[in-house]
Amino acid sequence: MIRLFGILAGLGFVVILLYSFTFGAINFIKEPPVKAVEYQFHKHPEKPGFAHEGVFGKFDRGQLQRGLKVYKEVCAACHSMNLVAFRNFEDLGYSEGQVKTIAKNWATETPSINPETGEVSSRPSLSSDQIPSPYLNDVQARAANNNALPPDLSLMTKARHDGTNYVYSLLTGYTDPPSDLPEENRPGTGLYYNAYFANLNIAMAPPLNSEGQVTYDDGTKASIDQMAKDVSAFLAWTAEPKMEARKSIGLGVIGFLIVFTFLAYLSYQNIWADLKAQKRKD
């Protein structure tokens, strides 16, 4: 009885699905789907190569410090970094005192209230503060940026596919639109063509636009490519500050597990040895 019902129900599902399939197939043959323009012109991120990639990869502290400078002097004008605190910069190789100075001299101050009057005010940041946002709220951020909200950058490299390479490619990927780009996909006012951006037209003006835009403390030549690479590495760190610990602990754990598994295998063979011997004897 159950089998009969089962076969009937099964036939029902199969008929409906094949019915849908037939209609879909007829449509597919009559009007083959055209690939969206975004797919044709969209490019996958370049791979410039970063020191922190791979199983043994570690962050290049010098590069992170340069990247912080690019973020501080270029990106931070519009993009917040809510999840990172100044104290975290000690991981980049700065001393406690240097971090205090960076916090105190940050272009945006930390919001606070006047202790006497209770009025909204701001104060210089302490190293325990999170990095203050350049805008009071999203509404202000949109209003200042042609209604495009500059996203928070703390997790940017984890929030995009192949994030670190994506950030690098996006920063260096501004070009004139290709001549065969259809009219409706050309950048409108306030938009810029960038083949690495999902819909090809990004509201952010090319942020890194001239050589020497940032003066590096270590004397590295600040080419656009160099700045893009440094800030991408810095954003990889802000997204995953515990990456080095994760990898080094991981190597130890896996080494331990391989030894354990080997011993467990020997023990398993050992305990089963008499059974197997018995089988051989038979």
Binding site: R87, S128, L257, F260, L263, N270, I271, D274, Q278
Partner: protein
Amino acid sequence: MAEPETTETNEGGEIRRRDFINIAAVSFAGVGAGVVALPLLSQMSPSADVLALASVEVDVSSIEVGQAIKTTWRKQPVFIRNLTSAEIAESKAVNIGELRDPATFEDRTLPGKENWLIMLGVCTHLGCIPLGAAQGEIKGEFDGYFCPCHGSHYDAAGRIRKGPAPTNLEVPEFSFVSDTVVKIG
């Protein structure tokens, strides 16, 4: 199950070597479980953002002589009192030998800034906030602080004089970063 014959026919050394493998595997598993317990336990100790709040700076310029303010440090109340010269003299006159937790007045203040008494407002008995910092509060039998929970009396320098508390009110590490700003912690 048929009797396993092979182990019996082998000499004793063979059996010991084979037992050793089992013991080694089980011990390895035990060590691994022990190491795994570390992060499972250490996660409960204060996190990085909590530790980052371990010091605060307070402007004390508005505290008049004889008055005190309450502020917080590490989520605990801190009393900052601007002592009167009478209170200082009285505190210095106490015979240290009589105290439960002997400490001189100088031990509890900074030289040159001895009018500033800075203490955690946490009774060393079981953690209530003693009265006596704000004006009009009961100051106890020794004209200092009184903990209403279990009746501990502290003197003007915050030293335990009577009641169940074992030690004096704790003086945190502090220093003056300028004439009017004190850094606690």
